[in-house]
């Protein structure tokens, strides 16, 4: 099972992302928790592209979700400048309040709520692939 859709690089597109994932909940019999986590992962990646992707004009963000057995594979593509989120350093979440900064928290959440990711630059596009293993109740 596979679905794909496109977003443009605007924060308001997060509403469309949420609506599309809610539809999947029924169609693929996913738990509310799984959909919420998929939403957070994709939200953080899309927000990163919108805010730091370096697209001066409207650029297209492609989202694809594929469900095979017990795994969902997410693919996010954008035509902004080359950026590999898999090699960004993790934030130190043990620092006290005074020393904490907000940088890197989004990708930290992406890593925590997914089970693996890979990046490639292909045809002048960033292509990020993530996998999410489904909990028992969704299998």
């Amino acid at each position: 099972m596979k679905i794909s859709f496109q977003l443009t690089n605007k924060d308001s597109e997060l509403t469309k992302l949420h609506a599309n994932l809610v539809k999947l909940e029924k169609r693929w019999s996913l738990s509310v928790k799984t959909v919420r986590e998929l939403n957070l992962v994709l939200d953080e990646l899309v927000t990163n592209i919108v805010e730091h992707g370096g697209c001066e004009n409207i650029c297209t963000i492609g989202i694809e979700l594929m469900k095979e057995d017990t795994v969902i594979t997410l693919t996010v593509t954008d035509n902004g400048p080359s950026f590999d989120p898999t090699i960004t350093p993790a934030p130190d979440i043990s620092l006290p309040l005074e020393e904490r900064s907000c940088g890197g928290l989004g990708l930290h959440l992406v890593r925590k709520f997914s089970d693996g990711c890979s990046y490639k630059r292909e045809n002048n596009q960033n292509v990020l692939t993530l996998i999410k293993k489904l909990p028992t109740e969704c299998r």
Binding site: S12, N39, R100, H108
Partner: protein
């Protein structure tokens, strides 16, 4: 996302509902900003009806905690749904931000801390 602000027991209460993401964060940040520049009351964020938070929301919470740390007032959060609490814990914000189970408990916590501060002041 909706934010209702009230004053109760000498604390400003932000009742948050809906989704706090990078789309809704700027408006929320504008509402919070006035309370950060020169705090005049304690501040409570009541998350009871907040269904979703992303790192864009966490950034505002972190900045709020930093501003209140430098003031004479307290910042407390309460009534988080489990998945919102999980995002806080994964991000390590729960190590320096007080999270109470209910709004009543957050108001009691503020009272207790105020009494402790008074005691400390009287004994010096």
């Amino acid at each position: 996302m909706k934010t209702e602000i009230s004053l109760e027991n000498g604390a400003s209460i932000f009742n948050l509902s809906g989704r706090l993401d990078s789309h809704t964060a700027p408006e929320f940040e504008r509402k919070v900003q006035d309370f950060l520049t020169s705090p005049t009351h304690h501040l409570v964020f009541n998350f009871n009806n907040l269904d979703y938070i992303s790192s864009a929301g966490l950034r505002i919470i972190l900045n709020t905690a930093k501003a209140y740390k430098l003031s004479n007032y307290q910042f407390i959060t309460c009534s988080m749904q489990d998945h919102v609490l999980e995002v806080f814990e994964i991000s390590g914000l729960d190590t320096f931000i007080t999270i109470c189970p209910t709004l009543d408990e957050s108001l009691t916590t503020l009272d207790t801390r105020e009494q402790d501060a008074d005691q400390e002041f009287l004994s010096t």
